[in-house]
Symmetry: C2
Subunit: 323 residues, 2 copies
């Protein structure tokens, strides 16, 4: 990756067509490209290096705030969605459905075989599959708070995709926590929102406005959704991360109960929060210009030093003079 | 996680039933558990901490040997497998097949809808989808060698599963490289095999024997498969990592061609190599005993110090004496 490749005049300019300029910057810097899989991208080394840097810094903060990483299955049984569909309005259904477990060679053509009795869905988010484990791990107030994070790929069958900003498959971290009281769960929701704000401001050098989303934009099944919104150069806001207070809704549908200090049975209060590879799209739209990719120094995978070549006379004149 | 939880007498012992002992160690140390998804496991924080440590150390070595990380789609179009099925004997077909893109609510029941024209397969390994990108990125000998690594989840519909050792979904790293000459590609295959050996011996403290697999055990489509085999306490060998010299086979089926130094068109020589969460199973079977989990110090996520409580008299007597 040479500086030349990254910084060459981009056509069109931001002024002419912001959306096409954005795609051209990504192409010019070889950060990512569309793949043969509909709506999915290939994240090339330069783009992936940014994600690795984001992961490294954010993972430290997630651990410093008392969370542990774990890994849960990619596939979710259909019955889990049925549960959610029953009690959550506005339930999203665009998703990748696994129906077969084999490819069979029939007269030279591969056809799906081994039909599943119950279909699986590729996780669009993991509240349900992680909640299922929580329901086993949480018995008493002594098991709380339970604070888990997962770095993973997720998939939503998106109709209109844009690299990094909205792709069918994307990479993210998803935090999932369970608490003894509403107060504690609300504090967790706020803590992680503030962590995102600090990270975006101090590390990615983005201008952040945080606040609560309207009921229409709320995470389905949650009580409150908060987000960090970032101002892009086209004067539009980009939702860069969300933190959800889920109340007892998921606990009730997944049976996450615990014995309280006074020996009663209660449903845990849960939260979830996440940021994704969309941050890379936000980085580009915040900092880049009509000559291509510009990155804040802390996140850049490689730093470039500009070496001026001067004639000998000028060089000795200028460079030996004190500043 | 307390030491007590990890180190309590395991029933049965290794002598009595090695396989049941293995499962009991994992359960006792809360490393992983079976999930509601057939053949998939939940990797709990203690187990995942081991994987994070493996990743950290191995990722440094992968980069130090000139590779860059990237990320490719989870799904692979069926036609790619058709290509492989046409020219590779022993082609494996147990895999998760995505056939629909929506769940539709029909009279209160969710049914798969939005049938795909061409089905997708969840990657069992990424030679084909990464090779597809390579065919675009490689034009001239100047683009070679191309040395890429991916940390990812993969899926194979396994009939008999054992936690960490063989699960339908597992985590791994897969290196994929393309070279100008057979010699260079063979050197790469050997270099990464030796990297695995060094890593297993010096970091995981495992006894390693490396060598070539028989033609029957070879990676389908490869010319040579080499592996690092590790001796377990039941005197059985565990395949802990593989490195494949793929010759020009994948280049030919995926059209990875380049212009040579004397301006001819040639197919690139490719390799691939990987280790997975299976290493955690190997760690357990190498080091643990009838009291539970034992880990070599470099890989352990948490270290335990044993504090002897001695009577004052003995303490001053013993501890002030020189060794």
């Amino acid at each position: 990756m040479t500086a030349k490749k990254i910084r060459t005049a981009i056509s069109p300019t931001r002024e002419e067509n912001f959306s096409d300029w954005y795609q051209a910057v990504i192409k010019g810097a070889e950060m990512a490209e569309n793949s043969v899989v509909r709506g999915c991208m290939v994240i090339r080394p330069w783009g992936f290096g940014l994600w690795e840097n984001i992961q490294k810094v954010l993972d430290k903060r997630i651990k410093a705030t008392g969370h542990e990483n774990a890994y849960f299955p990619l596939l979710i049984p259909k019955s889990f969605f049925q549960k959610e569909a029953d009690h959550i309005e506005g339930f999203a259904t665009e998703c990748a459905v696994v129906t077969h477990t084999r490819l069979e060679n029939q007269d030279g053509t591969l056809v799906p075989a081994g039909k599943l009795e119950e279909e699986y869905i590729i996780r669009p988010t993991s509240e349900m599959i992680i909640g299922e484990s929580f329901s086993k791990w949480v018995q008493s107030y002594r098991d709380l708070p339970l604070k888990i994070n997962q770095w993973a790929n997720v998939m939503r069958w998106e109709m209109r995709t844009r690299m990094f900003l909205r792709t069918s498959e994307f990479l993210w971290q998803e935090g999932h926590t369970a608490h003894e009281t509403e107060k504690e769960a609300r504090e967790e929701t706020e803590t992680m929102l503030q962590e995102y704000k600090k990270f975006l401001e101090s590390y990615l050098a983005m201008p952040v406005l945080e606040g609560e989303k309207t009921p229409e934009e709320r995470f389905p099944g949650g009580d409150n959704t908060y987000s960090v919104e970032v101002m892009m150069q086209d004067k539009k806001a980009l939702q860069a991360g969300t933190s959800h207070y889920l109340g007892q809704n998921f606990s009730k549908s997944l049976d996450i109960t615990f014995q309280t200090r006074d020996e009663k049975e209660e449903f845990a209060y849960t939260t979830s929060w996440g940021v994704s590879t969309r941050l890379i799209g936000g980085l580009i739209m915040t900092h880049s210009d009509d000559d291509g990719l510009v990155l804040p120094p802390k996140i850049a995978p490689k730093h470039i030093v500009i070496m001026p070549f001067l004639s000998k006379k000028i060089a000795t004149q200028k460079l030996t003079q004190p500043y």
